[in-house]
Symmetry: C2
Subunit: 326 residues, 2 copies
Amino acid sequence: MTRSSVPAPVTAVMEAAGAWLPVRMAEVEERLTAQTVGHGPRLGEEAEATLAAGGKRLRPLLVLMAAGNSAPERAVRAATAVELVHMATLVHDDVLDGAPVRRGRPTVFARSGRGRALAVGDLLLSRAFAELAVPGAEAEIAELSSASVALALGELAQRRDAFDTTISETRYLERCSLKTARLFESACRVGRLASGAPGTEELAAFGRDIGLAFQLLDDVLDVTGPPERTGKARGTDLLDGTVTLPLILARRVDPALEGVELRGLDQTAAEAICDRIADSGALEEVRARARDGTERAKRILVADAFTDEECHLLGLIADGVVDRYS
Amino acid sequence: MTRSSVPAPVTAVMEAAGAWLPVRMAEVEERLTAQTVGHGPRLGEEAEATLAAGGKRLRPLLVLMAAGNSAPERAVRAATAVELVHMATLVHDDVLDGAPVRRGRPTVFARSGRGRALAVGDLLLSRAFAELAVPGAEAEIAELSSASVALALGELAQRRDAFDTTISETRYLERCSLKTARLFESACRVGRLASGAPGTEELAAFGRDIGLAFQLLDDVLDVTGPPERTGKARGTDLLDGTVTLPLILARRVDPALEGVELRGLDQTAAEAICDRIADSGALEEVRARARDGTERAKRILVADAFTDEECHLLGLIADGVVDRYS
């Protein structure tokens, strides 16, 4: 249950949208770079690893898409803030997981150690709120704070559930909601709030659905690999003690998976469990649920509040979440 | 160079001020409690250790004092937010230091492990900004974000300087500024901003000066103890590799301290270094500097922007910072 270890469907949307989207995304990138270069040599050393942590910028893209083609500066700030929260969480996650590499580059933790990585994460989280410190943005601040709290609660839940192979599907879904779907939801919500256009709650539901689908498919990829594509070994979640939906569904039909012990697992044993999960048919079911989720998300957008262009572009993102993983 | 390991001079000010101050402080305490009980059983277990982390609430007291006796709800929120940032930092510091106890109680780290403590710190930091998400408070948000970034940069600086016994006084003072004085400054500034009264910059300078004095005296106490009073063993900073002003000044007059090796130090050796530092006369010099700082702070307040009551009460805090340690 790592997050966004796979490139997001940014390219298709960037090509389909008008020039406004690449322009705004470039502004977001500039603002992100400014976060890590504006604090002297101390942080400069960490800058590359930190900026790389977020990856393909799916969340800021959602913010801008939700704001629409007249996205004001406030939306660019909100997009930057959402990505900063995401980056902060990844930098802290890498500390906890002792992760050496993210997206083919050394993590801040690996480059500079636990202490510096913890401080860099705190710094990014603090900077997120500075981005939103503009008149009238109090709803966005409250929203992003709430999402950031959800991420922390999700981390707490994941720690508590670690190595417990009996956790329920409900509990798993609650964790996905906190760790992934909530920030997707927030991305959509703060974008729409910044634009002042109607349809905020519909977009929030859209974000929640595709965020959940994103996480479901990420959890499938942890089982299937291949490592060249996912950037991590198969069964990494199992090795971390993180029980995800593929195992939860597979254990219902394969008694050998029922009482499996994850503590002390090695890579070979983890891959053997991945194979059993794949043989159970669970992966197809998880993929089908993710597809149902993105279809439901697209149906939400068919409302008076959205232009045809918005429906088209947001639909491309929803499809992209599924297509990247099929 | 731990922070606020010693009770702050809250009582004298609470007694001297009108009823408004205890009432407002009780509101802050209620808001702080709400942070840790409103998130279900996950966080409930951590609540006690987390709430205890902040200690005597010196920073929220400064916020309210800076706001004055007509302190609006915005000031109470700002006071809560400042304390939440402080608590978040302490919880994260305890993770890095592997600290078992703070203020006589087990730390979040000791009770629940690194992962949960990291998440609890993130949660507290995120909640701080939610407290400030009210119309018109964008200046306070920017200010607190900036202070929080300074804390993270201070942590980075401390990590980088660890075990380097050659660091300069300038570098030490810069670190104090980031790790301690900046949040004292912010406490004063956000309080005054919330009240709308003039004198924000004077109060910011006041906060900076007493924050630095506070840190200088904390660093003296690390050398002198006694442990019953400080709640930690003598020489804890030395054992952590943190070089502070007492050693920096002492090494100028005691050649044996010049090339001292802090790596691999044990408690007995650390206490022996403490004794040498004390014998050098450095502690008297650090105390004198702290006193100069608080006197300078009090002089700043003699301006048209402040009432006699404000000068009196803030002066009590400044004196208290010195008296507690003399």
